[in-house]
């Protein structure tokens, strides 16, 4: 049994058939996981200024870039093992770098609230065994975490939910479009206008406190009565809700206070994003957007978007992430003018503009380690195939020695 690193569910019931040191067949993985495990079509090759180079000189060049930089940034590590993340934090500390990851424009705020214990949460196993009302809010779990519904939330039979989805569970979707998750929720899909989450929460809070809300009165009272009757509920907060209420996160805390039997679960995308947030939180007390300068300083200007907009960084190390793909063009305009070091198993859009490319092993397939699932449980990753690629942990260690 192996662990899939396709998404933050970290399914640990995967079988893989290996032939000629390549994965020939995967069993029990979703299509996303299968593609991840079968490996990259285009492996990254070590290069300096887009010209092939040997591995050692790539490391040396990367170290030289970091030495000459006055304000470097270490970005990514969401697709790396916990061990590599710890090494990454040590490197950032040593070179006084800014550190950020994709959670600064993803679920970072929500994970911060959960780690600060401002929001109630539970484990995915609790949800499987006990949950009777599930709310997918701004999240299309069916497409983003394909095995979420079948493995943990809606379909499986749990200890106290022996009849599973047929009688014991109720799934509700709140979204701006009829996603695949909403199609499964059928009669309990609440469509809201774009950025209408805040208004929806306010109306729901009114309905929960016994008043008749002005907004969609009939549906809202119906939803409130379902939520009130729940014995063990879970709200799966997707990026749709996080983006919509970004400036006013307290409103979700207020709603959670009115629903004492509900737990909040962040729907994390990258397989070890929560691991990075937890590691940095343990080290500094913040989940992302940190600058090490003797002590850790947390400010919004240290988010990758702000740093690139303000042109406040002069070197960028990207580990297992692809900012050129995920950020808007206006934000990445500054990127080609600074040296970028890309550490990744496969070619990405970022590797195409990087000054130095250093290939690493794909974690969970070519290297072992551990990762943190979306609910905070640590899951072990096993090595499936053998090859000579160094892990990102080893590369960061070498980089630290060379700087």
């Amino acid at each position: 049994m192996f662990t899939c690193t396709g998404c933050a569910l970290l399914c640990d019931d995967i079988e893989a058939i290996v032939e000629n040191n390549r994965i020939k067949e995967t069993r029990n993985t979703c299509r996303r996981g299968s593609a991840r495990m079968k490996g990259a079509m285009f492996r990254l090759v070590p290069s300096i200024d887009q010209k092939p180079a040997d591995f050692e000189s790539s490391i040396k060049k990367a170290a030289e870039i970091l030495r000459n930089s006055t304000s470097p940034m270490l970005f990514g590590l969401d697709n790396s093992t916990c061990e590599a993340q710890v090494k990454g934090i040590q490197l950032a500390k040593k070179i006084n770098a800014i550190m950020d990851d994709t959670s600064s424009f993803c679920q970072g705020l929500l994970i911060e609230k959960i780690l600060q214990k401002k929001l109630r949460t539970c484990s995915l196993d609790d949800i499987r065994n006990k949950a009777d009302v599930l709310v997918y809010w701004g999240s299309d779990a069916q497409d983003s975490q394909p095995r979420h519904l079948s493995r943990f939330s809606y379909f499986p039979r749990g200890e106290s939910r022996q009849r599973g989805y047929e009688e014991d569970r109720l799934a509700i979707a709140i979204d701006v479009r009829e996603s695949n998750t909403a199609k499964i929720c059928k009669g309990h899909f609440y469509r809201i206008p774009l950025k209408g989450d805040r208004e929806f929460i306010l109306a729901l809070m009114e309905a929960l406190s016994g008043k008749a809300p002005a907004y969609d009165t009939k549906n809202m009272l119906g939803l409130a009565s379902i939520l009130k009757k729940a014995e063990f509920g879970a709200i799966f907060v997707g990026i749709g809700l996080t983006y919509s209420i970004k400036n006013d996160f307290e409103i979700l805390t207020e709603l959670a206070d009115m629903l004492p039997k509900f737990n909040i679960m962040p729907m994390v995308g990258h397989y070890n994003m929560r691991g990075f947030n937890e590691a940095l939180f343990k080290e500094t007390g913040f989940v992302n957007r940190v600058k090490f300068e003797g002590k850790a300083v947390h400010e919004n200007k240290y988010a990758i978007i702000e740093a690139l907009k303000n042109k406040s960084i002069d070197a960028l190390v990207v580990v297992g992430s692809d900012p050129v793909l995920s950020l808007p063009r206006s934000v990445i305009a500054h990127l080609p003018s600074i040296p970028v070091v890309c550490i990744d198993p496969c070619q990405t859009f970022t590797s195409k503009i990087a000054a130095v490319n250093i290939p690493c092993a794909a974690s969970g397939v070519e290297s072992a380690g551990s990762a943190v699932r979306m609910d905070g449980k640590v899951i072990g990753l096993k090595k499936i195939i053998e090859n000579n690629y160094l892990t990102d942990e080893d590369i960061l260690k070498r980089l630290m020695e060379a700087v």
């Binding site: 049994m1 019931d13 995967i14 079988e15 067949e25 995967t26 069993r27 029990n28 993985t29 979703c30 299509r31 996303r32 996981g33 299968s34 593609a35 499987r128 069916q142 497409d143 394909p146 095995r147 519904l149 079948s150 493995r151 943990f152 379909f155 499986p156 039979r157 749990g158 599973g164 989805y165 695949n180 998750t181 199609k183 499964i184």
Partner: protein, 152 residues
């Protein structure tokens, strides 16, 4: 999905009984249930029915790869989420501590398995739609949002 009337309209409608059925309508029902083949209608093989025969074959083409229960898995639509694996009542009965709990199947008695991110049907004789005393079960179709499982 193709209907009996669509098939019937393309048959010679002479009730010649050469196929062994009493009427062309009965033959259409047998064609739809994959009990008879198009070539068993001998008048349809004649030159003047050529266009109708081709149309009929193209209509019946999607059901050609169907299992005995009529199940077709459209692998190009399947995302491998495994909803059908866990929702199938036969899988739950045969593997309560594996597929029934949402985990990987622990034995070979299950109907659905996910291989390479696509669902594969096996043990089709266990399916509730199999055999004479079949039940019109929708347990694997309902939880599939992409419509990857179809019965013809």
């Amino acid at each position: 999905m193709v209907t009996v009337m669509e098939i019937y309209q393309l048959l010679p409608k002479t009730n010649c009984k050469k196929c062994g059925e009493s009427t062309c309508m009965a033959f259409a029902v047998s064609l739809l249930g994959r009990k008879k083949k198009v070539v068993e209608c001998t008048p349809l093989l004649e030159e003047n029915f050529k266009a109708q025969k081709e149309k009929l074959e193209s209509l019946l083409l999607p059901s050609a790869g169907a299992e005995e229960t009529g199940m077709i898995v459209h692998t190009e639509l399947c995302t491998g989420c495994g909803n059908c694996v866990v929702a199938c009542p036969v899988d739950v009965a045969n593997d309560p501590h594996g597929a029934g709990m949402g985990c990987a199947p622990t034995n070979d008695k299950v109907i659905f398995k996910v291989v390479d991110g696509k669902v594969l049907a096996s043990n089709i004789k266990e399916c509730r739609r199999f055999g004479k005393s079949k039940v019109l079960c929708y347990a694997c179709i309902d939880p599939c949002p992409t419509g990857a499982i179809e019965f013809v």
